[in-house]
Amino acid sequence: MKPPPFDYVAAATVDEALEALADTSVETRPLAGGQSLVPMLNFRLAVPERLVDLNGIDELSRIEETEDGGLRLGAMVRHRQLEHDPFIARRMPLLSEATPFIAHPQIRSRGTVGGSVAHADPAAELPAVLLTLGARVRIARRSLGGEPGSRVERTVGLGEFFLGPFFSALEPDELLTAIEMPPSAPGEGTAFDEVARRRGDYALAGVAARVRLNSGGVCDEAAISLVNGGATPCLMREAARTLVGQEPTPEVIEATAAACAATSEPAADMHASEAYRRHLIQVLTRRVVSRAADRVLT
């Protein structure tokens, strides 16, 4: 279980990384935290010719407030930072709540936000959580024919970013540089929960929810997303509509949970049947939406 040979580029800036990625004649992969990529290399399930190490790029490690009062996470922000940053706990408590479910402390020391999103694993927690928060990703590449150092950037909503299992809208010459989230509105409550075989494992199923209640206690807006609920990290738009315009009574929440389970497309694997996953999605949706709503009310 030793990795295959590869060329190694330690990028010190985003431009250096983009420069390396721009040369698509060599199969190049960015190396972020490496907590998913390196096991794949060790099993020789991935055999890239070149790795571009992003760990030396300081500008990607920042946690910032955006112009509209939202949050920008540099791609190389570590899970550990998310977990412990008091600013995040205050502004996006869902991130602080969900991050401890990601693997183990030693993995969170290295694992990054950008790496998790770019990996596009339907079983991972962070993509689902970020979907619930309405996140978008910022993507850069070197401009074709442009001067070295000139970039083309684009922003993609996370809902459009995930195209399939381990498959995203990211092109081989592109780098995910940041994830941005709009500010949370007054009256919002969020929650996350999952069922995993062991603490730190990929979940059998997980649910993240965000609900906004108006002063009359009626739900104005809801977002629910699933871990291991389909081929991609998925936002359950239809199920969320069951909640909108209603007071979050137990009956309404149960209907939402049922809709979520009914419209989910979980896969069967050695750890859980499709029926079991669907059932867990219903149970977890009920629990998580109730908790999110309770958090607004209390």
Partner: protein
């Protein structure tokens, strides 16, 4: 590729192949075989070392990535020079606590657990049993059933507290 790093406070520099895993680098290039390799896919935790004081899986990093950084391995815990005889009295409080609590049997997973526990107790000097269990849940041990590892880490917190903050700061490096 040429790298220069500090390992347990000592400078190391030399050529390494980019694909050389940090775990293999420590064991075969630096000659520190206390860092053990159990799965090479980041689950068992036996290879855990500290990178600038934070626990990481050495099997999920490359040696080239520690260029300019500080790595601490199990050999860096007790205050003895390589080759010098070590007695129970020389052990780091976390090591001594595991000894007292019988928190190891075959001892293969132990170095990784020590590196996690030492960092964990710096962040959380007075943990509950439940917090300890969570902190070491990224380590597989097939011998102990974890019971005495948890007791050992709890004991280590007591020993560190008794040693006073000054001693603890020393350990922070």
């Amino acid at each position: 590729m040429r790298i220069a790093a500090r390992v347990n406070g000592l400078a190391w520099s030399g050529e390494v192949e980019p694909r050389l895993l940090l775990s293999d680098f420590l064991r075969s290039e630096v000659g520190l075989t206390g860092t053990h390799v159990g799965c090479e896919h980041g689950v068992c935790g036996a290879c855990t070392v500290q990178l600038d004081g934070e626990p990481v899986r050495a099997c999920l990093m490359f040696a080239v990535q520690v260029d300019g950084r500080e790595v601490t391995t199990v050999e860096g815990l007790a205050e003895a020079q390589p080759g010098e005889a070590i007695t129970v009295e020389d052990l780091h409080p976390v090591q001594r606590a595991l000894h007292e609590a019988h928190g190891l049997q075959c001892g293969f997973c132990t170095p990784g657990i020590l590196m996690t526990a030492e960092a964990f107790l710096r962040d959380n000097p007075t943990p509950s049993r439940e917090e300890i269990r969570e902190a070491v849940s990224g380590h597989l041990c097939r011998c102990t059933g974890y019971h005495n590892i948890v007791e050992g880490v709890a004991r280590a917190a007591e020993l560190l507290a008794a040693d006073g903050p000054a001693a603890h700061d020393d350990d922070d490096r």
